[in-house]
């Protein structure tokens, strides 16, 4: 187990964000996420869900408010420091998989281990955990969409991050595949002990979460 007294993995305080030339997207947002907590964020398209994840990941900076991840003030870190924190503590799952086409499945999964200077052994374990043990030497183009997303999940968790960020991970999948991928994600996040923010617009996806929040123009409200 990770921590006896769970301190927040993510803490957002009064966060606001507007894009240049556009109306403000996020206003006065609050969010606290403890270790191992699995939260779903739902909301209409264009409301700012992806923006929220980018702020958490340190890929974008808020106009006001504070973003803390694992105790570090993301907005005040330099790009390199934020990147190193992301490298160590955050895993990503995208809607469009983003698996490197020229690497094998196993090499793709092992990427975060290599980046963190860890042995690649755990990649095999992780691949087996997502049910793709037999396909480690395949190229991504030989896999189906559901399988690709499972590769992405293995890659996101292989280095045991404290936080997993998933942006509409089932958006490109059919309902049956989507539910099996969601179940797998839930299982593996639990097994890793990571906290997770799952962004989705599907109620079905949200059902697997500990807590469901709705992002509206007034902020995050319990759904």
């Amino acid at each position: 187990m990770r921590d006896a007294h769970p301190s927040p993995v993510v803490r957002l305080r009064d966060v606001s964000k507007a894009y240049p030339g556009g109306a403000s997207v996020l206003r006065g947002l609050h969010l606290e996420l403890t270790a191992g907590e699995y939260v779903a964020v739902i909301g209409e398209s264009g409301v700012g869900k992806s923006t929220l994840l980018n702020l958490v990941a340190g890929l974008d900076a808020p106009d006001a408010g504070e973003v803390e991840v694992c105790g570090a003030p993301m907005a005040r870190l330099g790009d390199d420091q934020a990147t190193l924190l992301r490298r160590r503590h955050i895993g990503f799952v995208f809607q469009a998989f983003h698996v490197l086409p020229h690497l094998t499945v196993l090499q793709n999964v092992a990427l975060p281990l290599a980046l963190n200077g860890l042995s690649a052994d755990h990649a095999v374990v992780m691949l087996a955990a997502v049910g793709l043990a037999a396909k480690g030497q395949r190229k991504p183009r030989e896999l189906s969409g559901g399988e690709l997303q499972r590769v992405a999940i293995a890659r996101a968790l292989v280095h045991r991050p404290a936080l997993l960020l998933a942006d509409e991970p089932t958006g490109n999948l059919d309902p049956a595949t989507a539910s099996s991928v969601l179940a797998l994600l839930r299982r593996q996040v639990a097994a890793t002990g990571a906290a997770a923010i799952l962004v989705t617009h599907s109620a079905l996806a949200a059902a697997s979460a500990d807590r469901v929040l709705r992002l509206t123009s007034d902020g995050l409200v319990p759904a």
Binding site: L59, T83, F92, H102, N116, R141
Partner: protein, 845 residues
């Protein structure tokens, strides 16, 4: 919207979304077309002017007898019943004191010439003082020291009718009176005309004719006349029709011209290649989009047409710009360099630019064709792709699988080998040039395979760091993609390396040759290039007896016509001993023993190639009225006379011709003698002024190498252009790849790659790839240089050379290329990533 309009619209938008790459590809085509057209126009203008000059000399003659001959031939021919008019001529290149270039002077009989070539009859100008001045009356035509100059000659010499023209005869200076002009002689031709008797007398060539023009009686058969006179003519003369003379003019510079044109074609080839790699990369990037079009209902033919249309637009834009540039370059070069681009083939001719619309249209069509050729393979493979597979990321390498096989490349190499075993075609090394093209194409085709092979050779242990490991893995897995990007470097760098090796080899061999042919300390030359400067026997004795002169070797050189369709060869008579010819001549191969009673001659490599004689052969030289039987005793290397030279011992020459004059002297100084003093003493003894030119061996060597460097300046320029185009090619191809990999970089940033990690990844890839490209380019360049040195040069210019590789230059250029490519790769990646990691992952694959 019709299908054609849709195709055009799609092609246009594809080109516009990658303006940099489209621009470079079009530019490369433009460079090739500009150079090719410029060289064509310059040569066309020069040859046209030359032919005009030949035609104006011949006038309306049916037949001419050419060659050095005594006057009595004229009397005999004029008496032939078939001959209506016979006009004798003496053509001499007259040395002008203080000028390097001689002036061609025609001696003719004005009354006979008036019937055949009226434009060559001078028009006297009344003397300003009204009296019997230097140019008085019609009788001026016959005065022995009167000359009429063409407008171009007047302008060149800065003279006007009434002025005096100093000319060199022997070592003395004589003055001719300029009595008027030759208004009907073409504007580009420098020419003087004198009365023939006056020319023979004043220019000291008594009794000599070089040409007799004939007008035949109506109904007479020229062939019959030729046959009748065939064995009654002196050795070294023969009949020619005006057409045959013109042909020789065009032949003079043919190899040089072809050589330059091939250089231009090389630029065009590189251009076609850049279009190819631009299109391949652009199509790879657009594969999913094109697949989508196919899914939406675009036919195979439609897709093929789309890709070709893009190529046609690139080609047309490049060609039109190139044609404009070519005309400008041609106009400028004609004004600055003359019609032979510094090659020295058309002395005395200053051509005006003539642009034929047909040639321009032809070159534009060539540019479009080159561009279309570059598009053909990518278009075909794009049209063939199965849309379902192409929609997926990472499918490009399947498309590349064919490219990764080494067989196409090896087949090209085999074809090159076969071509090299063929001899020249029509005296041009066309198979050699084709072999170079095969080597290039083969090298390019082998690139993906070679890249993959070389990358597997790199030990994994070198790539422990995650960034290095990722770079290596990606390159190994996708060498096709990477190899295409490299092709630009390979094409331009291998050609540059080949040219550099060839030029260095040539220069080193030339320097060795100069050491061999310039053994003395001081050289005395009496009027270079002309025929009227010489040293009489008395002068020679005076030189040998001058204090400070330890030894003097005399050299007689004169033109010898061995074949009417070819330029004259040079006959060199000098102090050669039959036992030790290597002391004076840079022999190649061993000399062969010659019978005691035979006259030995040593021929340059060009004579072997052009006239088919070999060491040991018996041969006849047109010397001394009858032919002189000689034996070829050896072959020597001659970089000075591309049309051939024949060397013989001075005493053999004198015995055969009775000609005791010489042109050049090699002087060994006595111990401690001061070259300046000796020169002054010689000048005083010979009583000669500007006509004598002294030059020390070291200076002659330097001047020769300077001339060499200058004449290769055009080549250096083309090399710089080639490397520049190649670098631009790298820049755009890396730029294109960086754009194509935007989502990859975005994802890596999400995974925790810092900016500098992405930079390092790109730098590593760029350095590895360009190092492979440069190494392969060096290898391919060496192969091509061997074709240039062993096949193309000997076949074009009839000289051989020993290979010398300019390592410092090549390594420096290699290092710069790798460094620039690495930098380019990083800059391209930075620019691509400036859109931000967040947006990058948002896009669909």
């Amino acid at each position: 919207m019709t299908a054609a309009r849709l195709t055009a619209a799609l092609a246009w938008s594809a080109l516009r979304t990658q303006p940099g790459r489209s621009l470079v590809a079009a530019l490369a085509i433009a460079v090739g077309i500009a150079l090719g057209l410029a060289i064509h126009l310059i040569n066309h203008s020069a040859v046209a002017e030359f032919s005009r000059a030949v035609a104006s000399l011949a006038g309306e003659a049916d037949l001419s007898l050419r060659g050095r001959m005594p006057e009595d031939v004229f009397a005999a021919l004029a008496g032939d019943p078939d001959v209506a008019v016979a006009s004798p001529q003496l053509e001499l290149r007259v040395n002008l004191p203080g000028r390097r270039e001689p002036l061609t002077v025609l001696g003719l009989d004005p009354f006979r010439a008036a019937a055949l070539a009226p434009q060559l009859v001078g028009r006297p100008v009344e003397a300003p003082d009204g009296g019997r001045g230097p140019a008085g009356g019609g009788l001026a035509l016959l005065e022995p020291d009167v000359v009429f100059l063409s407008p171009a000659a007047l302008e060149w010499l800065g003279l006007a009718p009434g002025d005096r023209l100093p000319v060199q005869v022997g070592v003395a200076t004589r003055e001719l009176r300029v009595a008027g002009s030759l208004p009907a002689v073409g504007a580009g031709r420098r020419l003087g005309v004198m009365d023939i008797a006056g020319a023979q007398w004043t220019l000291d060539h008594p009794g000599l004719l070089t040409r007799i023009d004939l007008r035949l009686r109506p109904g007479a058969d020229p062939a019959a006349l030729r046959a009748r006179w065939a064995d009654r003519l002196p050795a070294g003369t023969r009949f020619e029709t005006p057409g045959e003379s013109g042909e020789r003019g065009a032949n003079v510079s043919r190899a040089y011209r072809v050589n330059l044109s091939v250089l231009a074609l090389v630029a065009l080839f590189t251009g076609a290649f850049l279009v190819f790699s631009t299109q391949v990369l652009s199509l790879l990037r657009r594969r999913p989009q094109l697949a989508l079009l196919r899914v939406l209902g675009l036919t195979r033919g439609g897709l093929f047409a789309l890709v070709l249309a893009e190529g046609a637009v690139l080609g047309l834009a490049g060609s039109v710009a190139g044609a404009a540039g070519g005309i400008a370059i041609a106009a400028l070069s004609l004004r600055l360099l003359g019609g032979d681009l510094g090659g020295g083939y058309f002395n005395g001719i200053v051509p005006a630019l003539s642009v034929s619309p047909g040639a321009v249209a032809g070159f534009v069509a060539l540019g479009v064709a080159a561009s279309l050729a570059g598009c053909l393979v990518p278009a075909w493979s794009a049209a063939r792709a199965r849309p379902a597979a192409a929609l997926k990321a990472g499918d490009e390498e399947t498309a590349m699988a064919r490219v990764r096989s080494p067989w196409t490349g090896l087949a090209c190499f085999a074809a090159a080998g076969a071509l090299l075993s063929a001899g020249p075609v029509d005296e041009l090394p066309l198979p050699g040039y084709a072999a170079v093209a095969c080597l290039l194409v083969g090298g390019l085709a082998l690139m993906p395979w070679l890249t993959a092979r070389l990358l597997t050779l790199i030990p994994d242990a070198w790539a422990r760091r995650p960034v290095a490991g990722l770079a290596l893995t990606q390159l190994r897995e996708a060498p096709g993609y990477a190899g295409i990007g490299l092709a630009g470097v390979l094409a331009s760098f291998s050609l540059m390396a080949a040219m550099a090796i060839m030029v260095a080899s040539f220069r080193v061999s030339l320097a060795d040759w100069l050491d061999h042919v310039l053994p003395a300390q001081l050289y005395l030359r009496v009027g270079g290039g002309g025929e009227t400067g010489f040293l009489a026997p008395a002068d020679q004795e005076a030189i040998a007896a001058t204090p400070g002169v330890a030894r003097a070797d005399f050299l007689r050189s004169r033109a010898l016509s061995l074949d009417p369709r070819r330029p004259d060869v040079l006959l060199l008579a000098r102090a050669i001993t039959r036992d030790r010819p290597a002391a004076r001549l840079p022999l190649v191969g061993d000399p062969v023993p010659v019978p005691r009673d035979a006259v030995p001659v040593w021929v340059s490599e060009a004579v072997v190639d052009l006239y088919g004689v070999r060491a040991g052969d018996a041969w006849t030289l047109p010397l001394g009225g009858q032919g002189l039987p000689v034996v070829v005793a050896g072959v020597w290397r001659d970089y000075a006379r591309q049309h051939g030279a024949v060397a013989m011992a001075m005493e053999d020459y004198r015995r055969a011709t009775g000609d005791a004059r010489v042109n050049d002297v090699a002087i060994w100084l006595a111990e401690g003698a001061d070259p300046g003093r000796v020169q002054a003493a010689l000048r005083e003894r010979l009583g000669a002024g500007e006509g004598l030119s002294f030059v020390e061996a070291g200076e002659l060597r330097r001047i020769s190498l300077d001339i060499f460097d200058r004449s290769f300046a055009v080549t250096y320029l083309l090399e710089v252009v080639a490397v520049g185009v190649g670098l631009a090619g790298i820049a755009v191809s890396f730029g294109g790849q960086a754009l194509a990999r935007l989502r990859e970089f975005g994802m890596l940033r999400h995974l925790g790659f810092r900016r500098r990690d992405v930079d390092a990844l790109l730098a590593l890839e760029g350095a590895l790839l360009s190092a492979i490209g440069v190494a392969a380019g060096l290898g391919l360049g060496w192969l091509i240089s061997q074709v240039l040195i062993r096949v193309i040069n000997p076949q074009s210019f009839h000289w051989t050379m020993d290979t010398a590789v300019p390592w410092p230059l090549l390594l420096a250029v290699s290092a710069v290329l790798v460094a620039l490519a690495t930098l380019t790769s990083v800059v391209a990646g930075r620019r691509a990533l400036s859109v931000g990691a967040v947006r990058a992952v948002k896009e669909d694959w």
